[in-house]
């Protein structure tokens, strides 16, 4: 089933796809960062893909000099009942990714959460604020270089 999706994507947008991986019968497609909106719009609208439901969007920190961060899109098709995962790499010195809120409006909060936790900025998001941490907080907690115990005095206590 998913081979048709991958084939179709490969024939329609060959320049956008970097790599296709298969693990435990789950397909992950690495996509060029700037093409993510194009690819997700195609996957949502194409009659063989129909990924109209974005299950989840999250970031991850590989902690490598190149391709340090990644943004992971877990999609599901309610009509065709299959899953697919997209992935884009984000460099540490260029933390901008195009937002997919135009494709799936439900990506709004997960993108805010990813911004909050990793500092990845989603261009085109209309309300990119921190999700959980206070707005004054300067660090990004889920990065690997953020210590588990936290950074002392990084959260100001309310003054009387």
């Amino acid at each position: 089933m998913l081979s048709t999706v991958v084939e179709k994507l490969k024939t329609s947008l060959p320049a956008s796809i970097l790599e296709v991986k298969d693990f435990r019968s789950e397909t992950t497609i690495h996509v060029k960062k700037d093409d993510i909106v194009k690819v997700s719009t195609f996957l949502r609208d194409d009659s063989d893909c129909l990924f109209e439901y974005l299950s989840d969007l999250c970031g991850a920190d590989a902690y490598t000099p190149e391709n340090r961060f990644e943004v992971v899109y877990n999609m599901y098709s309610i009509s065709l009942k299959h899953r697919l995962r997209l992935k884009v790499f984000v460099e540490e010195n260029d933390l901008h990714v195009p937002s997919v809120t135009t494709v799936w409006p439900g990506a709004g909060w997960p993108e805010r959460e990813t911004y909050d936790m990793f500092g990845i900025v989603f261009d085109g998001h209309n309300d990119l604020r921190r999700m959980y941490m206070p707005e004054e907080f300067e660090h990004f907690p889920l990065r690997k270089d953020f210590p588990l115990m936290g950074i002392p005095d990084s959260i100001p206590l309310p003054r009387k």
Partner: protein, 431 residues
């Protein structure tokens, strides 16, 4: 003298103005908190900003909601999360796969057994092990009991928010019986930590099975009584019918899931769409209602409770005898009896406890149909004993995202009814 007085008065007025300036800005500062995008425009106009929570009893936990009101109508609303953020995803990266199981209890604390099951299923998919059939049946039973418990709370709390206090008492009476069963089964009422990677912590005894059977037998009339208080209750129906409407297309686009999605007319249930455990051997229906309002979501929940009773009954009838722990050396904890008597198992136990199980390098996402919706765990593994990255796809978080869509344009009195009908649990939404 008179001159002096006026001078004094003038000076007083000047200082008063001077003092009023920072005071006013403090209030404004609080209202124009950077955490919110609601702007405090003109206090003399009709619009006012109301801050609900994070300690408001009707927001079901520590949900903070800022609503901008024009008279009694909600013009804009901003939910604010993070008051229960404990950083579980960071914690998960620093403890072994087994050590994280107790943390899953604290996600959706209304149905901990469901979270336990969802988490170990994701890890098992990563490891490539499968629990024995008896353990799978027990997992189905506990998942459905957790669903009943969660939906009973949702229905009762929705009634309570609207003013029907009796329903809340009656559903809690039933939930108390469920907690007794959980205690008998797992040893704890709330924080169950019952499942293990590759199985469950202890087998279900015949007494527990009988207790579950007794509950299933006596429960339907009790549920009918609760329903009788609400279904044709004019106040309840008028407070929920046509309130908080979510269209089918919008529900899918916004990532609605679970009973909320099915209340909007989408027949999507992961137990049927992507069968896990032994759900494809069991016979049950998926209740779907098309209205998309609070009443539809209530009906979905009540009907799902009835389906869950059927599932538990079937699972109790079909449950086979056998082990409840998979035999997979170096991946799954060995049996305690063998650890004390066999050298190999002792070594494996030592390695698993100290360094954790070693999955292959890779990433998996596994989702189950939780009581609130699609509960998924996305795990990235680098072959170590602890996850490199663990993302919890919490249904309450995604469901709450649509709250402004449901609230805007409604009356202030509908706010609690709509929050109640979405049934968020903040432990899960804030992670």
């Amino acid at each position: 003298m008179l001159q002096k007085d006026t001078k004094k008065a003038e000076a007083g007025a000047a200082t008063a103005v001077h003092e009023a300036e920072p005071k006013k800005s403090k209030i404004l500062q609080a209202l124009e908190d950077k955490d919110t995008s609601v702007q405090f425009t003109d206090p003399l106009e009709n619009e006012m900003i109301l801050n609900m929570g994070p300690q408001h009893p009707a927001t079901h936990g520590v949900l903070r909601l800022l609503v901008k009101l024009d008279g009694e109508t909600v013009v804009a609303s901003v939910p604010e999360l993070g008051y229960l953020h404990r950083g579980y995803e960071k914690l998960a990266e620093n403890c072994s796969y087994h050590e994280f199981i107790p943390h899953t209890d604290r996600l959706d604390y209304i149905s901990p057994l469901m979270n336990n099951t969802a988490y170990v299923l994701a890890v098992e998919k990563l490891l490539g092990v499968e629990a024995p059939r008896r353990a799978q049946f027990i997992r189905v039973i506990i998942s459905e009991l957790a669903r009943i418990s969660s939906h009973l709370l949702a229905v009762g709390a929705l009634g309570l928010d609207i003013g029907a206090v009796t329903v809340f008492m009656w559903t809690f009476r039933e939930r108390e019986k469920l907690y007794d069963i959980f205690e008998q089964l797992t040893g704890a009422r709330f924080t169950t930590s019952y499942t293990r990677i590759g199985g469950i912590s202890q087998d279900m005894t015949d007494e527990t099975k009988q207790a579950i059977q007794d509950f299933v037998t006596q429960f339907p009339p009790q549920l009918a009584e609760c329903e009788g208080l609400l279904n044709r209750n004019r106040i309840f129906v008028e407070r929920t019918d046509g309130v908080g409407v979510m269209s089918k297309e919008m529900a899918i686009a916004m990532g609605f899931s679970g009973p909320n999605l099915r209340g909007s007319g989408v027949a999507h249930d992961l137990r049927r769409s992507e069968p896990y455990l032994v759900y494809n051997e069991l016979d049950f229906n998926i209740p779907v209602f098309n209205d998309g309002d609070s009443l539809a979501r209530y009906y979905v929940r009540v009907n799902e409770i009835k389906e869950s009773i059927g599932i538990v009954q079937q699972a109790l009838d079909k449950i086979p005898a056998g082990p409840v722990h998979a035999f997979a050396p170096k991946k799954v904890l060995p049996q305690k009896e063998r650890v004390y008597t066999k050298m190999e198992e002792l070594i494996h136990d030592f390695m698993l406890i100290n360094f954790g199980t070693a999955p292959p390098v890779g990433e998996v996402y596994h989702a189950v149909e939780g009581s609130k919706g699609e509960l998924g765990f996305y795990i990235q593994s680098k072959g170590e004993g602890h996850p490199w990255r663990l993302k919890i796809r919490s249904p309450s978080f995604m469901n709450l995202q649509s709250l402004p869509l449901l609230l805007n344009g409604r009356m202030i009195s509908d706010v609690v009814a709509i929050i109640g009908s979405i049934d968020p649990v903040m432990g899960e939404a804030d992670k």
